[in-house]
């Protein structure tokens, strides 16, 4: 049978180039390995040529594969299962692109693309180290392209082909028909949770970070096989800095994304997925510092090798944790499909690269030179090494706690996350912040080998004094109000805050007084300043985060059932229900849910207009703004929300929709119950009673504005509910052109409608009341204020610029290139973090 309307050509082309890239990666790896074993130039050259040729062919193949997948996804060829899963008709081009790396295959492909681009950089700059570094790069490429193969080895399927056809992968009766494609109207598309600006930018940068950590391993390999122990440090430094820069920025982009949209209530939740990428970064930063120590003093070479190889091991371990579904119960956003495939792949990867590297390292351990002289305690290298060690230990602590599911698997235990996961990490990491803040503060002023005490005191006195004063002022003017974990933890927060402030000031002063504003040489100081500013921002914004949607603060909260355990709960009640059109007090704001609008583009998306207003004591409006959070309502009533945020320089007001009312299309059939009442009479309804205060002719008030020439009557009614709240209601009737129009009024919280039905013969008034159990329009929101969050992002940007400054300096880049690189990092990060998504 031939199937109708299929487009098989792009898939065939794509699959051919997958195979080609697989073969060329083997050829390139072998050629480069061979070349790296040969010392004679003229014998080496032919192997290098083969290696380069195969590598560039591979690069081309990977690009063609990428292009084919994009072509298939953007043209919605749902005969391919990848397009069916990751593309849909409504997606914009940027989300079609993001759809590629939503799946396992596409994300490994992205990783490959970066390996290739970095590989070109290595070929252009690494000179005699090209062969061994590229041997490692191509070995890694070999493992990544396996992921795209979809072949069977020993009965296990290895990898999965991104060009597999829907009719072969899914089961269903329609696939027996030649015209099955006409039944597939649309694909699943990008998961609505991921339809976000950051899904487009965060994975590429993070994968660049992942891919770049391979290059230092390649350089370590080049030195281990040639037994040229120290020579690799100088050329590897810019690469390591690039890696620290991109991985660090990639991780924090994830944090920004979480902060903006995933509604975890913050930028960092110590989720295993976050930890898994933080740990290699911490160890890589340790390696970076050891490299700098070696370059200046000849110390710490053994540690440099160790940290370099270990950080790559943790890149692979993190891939294992996040891709194999082992985190299942502990993480909110890990991949879960394709567990076994990735397991095998990563095992091979570790066996293929990390283990041999560790083997080479330990085999040569004794030969790697180390200086048998005690470091002076006043030397810079001593404290840099202590700092590296602290980073390394904190990484080990984080990964030891995060690996809990792995212990359960290996040992068969049933341990689970601690009750307060964030606090488990925070109580340790806050101490790490204290130490790192202090070390990065005074460490900058130390000189290699030893430092005079007088010099140190004279330089440090001012920064120390200023930061003590600043910290005390901060504690008085803007105290941290995080008391839930007791005074001990609060004290630790203050200590960390002081240490970070000290470091920011000391580094700034260092740039000014010691380097005399020579920023070129100040990459380290800039990065340290940024890092500690970021930590200070985290301490302040998390410490003083405020939930303003606390239900208890409003009159709306009515406990409808006593707690069966008979005790009062201390749980904060962080969600607040807003009835349509009813202004509700939320923290310092009066919030009104005005209306909702359906998105014209995406069928399941609704925008909610919330009006925020803050008045001062005299009733003058201080703040007035609209927030428009939105939600996707999927089939089965699933809800996925995107928050909206009002940004201020000093704080963000952050609101998202946590529940929406289910629209009831049924007709309201309840009838009005008519009460004949004189002025001053009262009537009853299920939850209370109401009083007719007055009847006004042609009224002018908040609800109506009649002129004396109109014919209108309005009832002034007060409704008293059983919970001793009262409401005003003004139903009215008007007569125009001899027709009576009824203007009913509603008391939404009581679900009652009031109607003025006319005048009876005995001068009473007909007041109709209708109680409806029909759901009223409402949404439930959660709302936070994050103070000084911009310190976090600003700190990150400064840190990234510090890495960039060091990188161009270590790479001995020309002035023009240096400016371009640093300018690019600065401007793009400022744009992405502070402007792009607001």
């Amino acid at each position: 049978m031939t199937f109708e309307n299929e487009h098989l050509l792009p898939g065939q082309i794509g699959h051919f180039f997958v195979l080609l890239s697989f073969i060329t990666s083997i050829v390139a790896a072998i050629a480069y390995f061979t070349a790296s074993k040969i010392d004679l130039e003229n014998e080496k050259e032919p192997w290098l040529k083969i290696g380069r040729g195969a590598f560039f062919l591979q690069f081309l193949s990977i690009l063609v594969v990428f292009g084919c997948i994009y072509h298939i996804n953007s043209n919605h060829y749902f005969e391919y299962v990848y397009a069916y899963k990751h593309s849909s008709l409504e997606l914009e081009p940027k989300f079609l692109l993001a759809g590629i790396w939503e799946g396992q295959e596409g994300s490994f492909l992205l990783w490959s693309v970066w390996h290739c681009i970095l590989g070109v950089g290595v070929i252009l700059t690494a000179k005699k180290r090209e062969a061994p570094v590229m041997a490692i790069v191509n070995t890694a490429q070999f493992f990544l392209t396996i992921m795209l193969l979809g072949i069977y080895v020993f009965g296990e399927k290895i990898g999965s082909n991104p060009f597999a056809l829907t009719r072969n992968e899914l089961e269903g009766p329609i696939f027996a028909q030649a015209n099955y494609l006409s039944y597939i109207k649309d694909g699943i598309g990008l998961n609505v949770l991921l339809r976000n600006y950051w899904m487009v930018i965060h994975p590429p940068i993070l994968f660049l970070g992942f891919a770049s950590t391979l290059i230092p391993v390649g350089f370590a390999f080049s030195s281990l096989i040639s037994k040229d122990w120290g020579g690799w440090i100088k050329p590897v430094l810019p690469w390591t800095l690039l890696s620290c820069l991109t991985l660090g920025v990639g991780i924090m982009m994830g944090g920004k994304w979480a902060y903006e949209s995933l509604s975890f209530g913050g930028y960092w939740a110590w989720d295993p997925v976050e930890n898994a990428s933080l740990v290699p970064w911490l160890i890589l930063v340790s390696a970076l510092h050891c490299m700098a120590i070696f370059k200046a003093t000849g110390n710490a070479l053994r540690a440099t090798y160790f940290f370099t190889i270990l950080s790559y091991f943790f890149i692979l371990y993190s891939t294992f944790l996040t891709r194999t579904g082992i985190l299942g119960d502990t993480s909110v956003h890990s991949f879960t499909e394709a567990g076994m495939i990735v397991n095998i792949l990563i095992s091979m990867y570790v066996l293929g690269i990390t283990l041999p590297m560790f083997f080479l390292y330990f085999k040569n351990f004794r030969s790697i030179p180390s200086i048998q002289r005690e470091e002076n305690i006043s030397s810079r290298e001593f404290w840099m090494f202590i700092g590296s060690l602290i980073l390394f230990l904190s990484a080990i602590f984080i990964i030891a706690v995060t690996s809990l599911p792995v212990y359960n698997k290996l040992l068969g235990t049933n341990l689970a996350d601690p009750q307060d996961r964030e606090f488990t990490y925070n109580k340790v990491m806050v101490l790490v912040a204290v130490i790192l803040g202090l070390i990065t503060g005074f460490g900058q002023y130390l000189k290699y080998r030893n430092t005079g005490t007088k010099y140190l005191i004279s330089k440090l006195a001012w920064p120390l004094g200023i930061s003590i004063v600043l910290s005390v002022v901060l504690a008085i003017v803007y105290p941290i109000e995080y008391t839930t974990k007791g005074p001990g933890f609060l004290g630790a927060i203050y200590a960390a805050l002081f240490a970070c402030i000290f470091s920011v000031i000391a580094n700034a002063a260092y740039l000014k007084t010691v380097l005399k504003g020579n920023l070129k040489a100040g990459g380290g100081a800039i990065a340290h300043l940024g890092f500690t500013m970021m930590i200070a921002g985290m301490l302040i914004s998390s410490g003083n985060k405020e939930v303003i949607s606390d239900n208890r603060a409003t009159g709306l909260y009515i406990p409808f059932e006593k707690d069966p355990t008979g005790r009062f709960t201390e749980n904060p009640m962080e969600n607040l229900t807003l009835l349509k059109g009813v202004p509700t007090q939320m923290g310092r704001y009066t919030v009104t849910y005005l209306d909702d609008v359906e998105s014209p583009m995406e069928k399941t998306r609704t925008y909610y207009h919330l009006h925020f207003q803050r008045k001062d004591k005299d009733g003058n409006v201080d703040e007035d703004f609209m927030l428009t959070p939105d939600s996707y309502r999927m089939k089965d009533n699933n809800l996925s929300s995107n928050p909206d945020t009002r940004h201020y320089l000093t704080h963000d007001v952050f609101t998202y929709v946590s529940t929406i009312s289910i629209k009831n299309e049924e007709k309201d059939t309840t009838a009005f119950k008519i009460n004949e009442m004189a002025i001053g009479d009262s009537g009853y309804y299920a939850k209370g009673y109401f009083v007719l205060n007055d009847i006004v002719k042609n009224p002018t008030n908040s609800r109506f504005n009649f002129s004396p020439s109109d014919t209108a009557l309005m009832a002034d009614i007060t409704v008293y509910s059983n919970d001793s709240t009262s409401y005003k209601a003004y139903p009215a009737l008007t007569i125009s052109n001899q027709e009576i129009n009824f203007l009913d009024d509603t008391v939404v919280t009581q679900n009652i409608h009031l109607n003025l039905g006319g005048v009876t013969t005995d001068k009473k008034f007909k007041i109709g009341i209708k109680e409806s159990n029909k759901l009223t329009d409402f949404i439930t929101v959660k709302s936070y204020i994050f103070p000084n969050i911009n310190l976090v992002w600003a700190g990150l940007i400064i840190m990234a610029c510090g890495f960039a400054v060091s990188m161009v300096r270590r790479a001995k880049a020309s002035k023009l290139i240096s400016y371009i690189v640093i300018g690019f990092v600065l401007i793009s990060l400022i744009y992405m973090f502070l402007f792009a998504n607001t």
Binding site: N191, G328, E375, L415, P418, D636, T659
Partner: protein, 134 residues
């Protein structure tokens, strides 16, 4: 740096690490029965939503109060109270991981992790005219 000082540093590090790990108060995965024996202790329950019993949630009355019943694979059942909004996919979930403490007959839960049918595995091809002749 001398080898001896490195060894000492590593030993100190290992001790600190061990103390830190010891300080981490891991919880456990439990069945409803074993959680009932550990009254007041923080546990993780792996259970299923009992669809035969009512789910009580009314955001108009209190958006921070959800009550439902859960059963586990051993057949035990408990009432669960969760003081937050109802997770929208609760009814569709195959399995729930409930974090909290057992108080008498009621499980006071402060975190719910839903395991929903995988987005892809369970997805039937969406067609506008389902084929019925088979």
């Amino acid at each position: 740096m001398k080898t001896s000082s490195i060894v000492i540093l590593v030993a100190i590090a290992a001790t600190i690490g061990a103390i830190l790990m010891y300080s981490v108060d891991f919880s456990t995965y439990d069945s409803i029965g074993s959680a009932q024996e550990k009254q007041g202790q923080y546990v993780h329950l792996i259970a299923k939503l009992d669809k035969s019993k009512p789910i009580q949630y009314d955001a108009l009355i209190d958006p921070n109060y959800l009550s439902f019943y859960a059963t586990d694979s051993l057949g035990a059942s408990t009432r669960v109270i969760y003081r937050d909004v109802k997770p929208p996919e609760l009814e569709q979930s195959e399995r729930v991981v409930l974090k909290g403490t057992m108080n008498g007959d009621v499980f006071e839960c402060d975190n719910i992790l839903l395991k929903c049918p995988s987005k892809y595995k369970d997805e039937k091809i969406q067609t506008e005219n389902p084929v019925t002749q088979y």
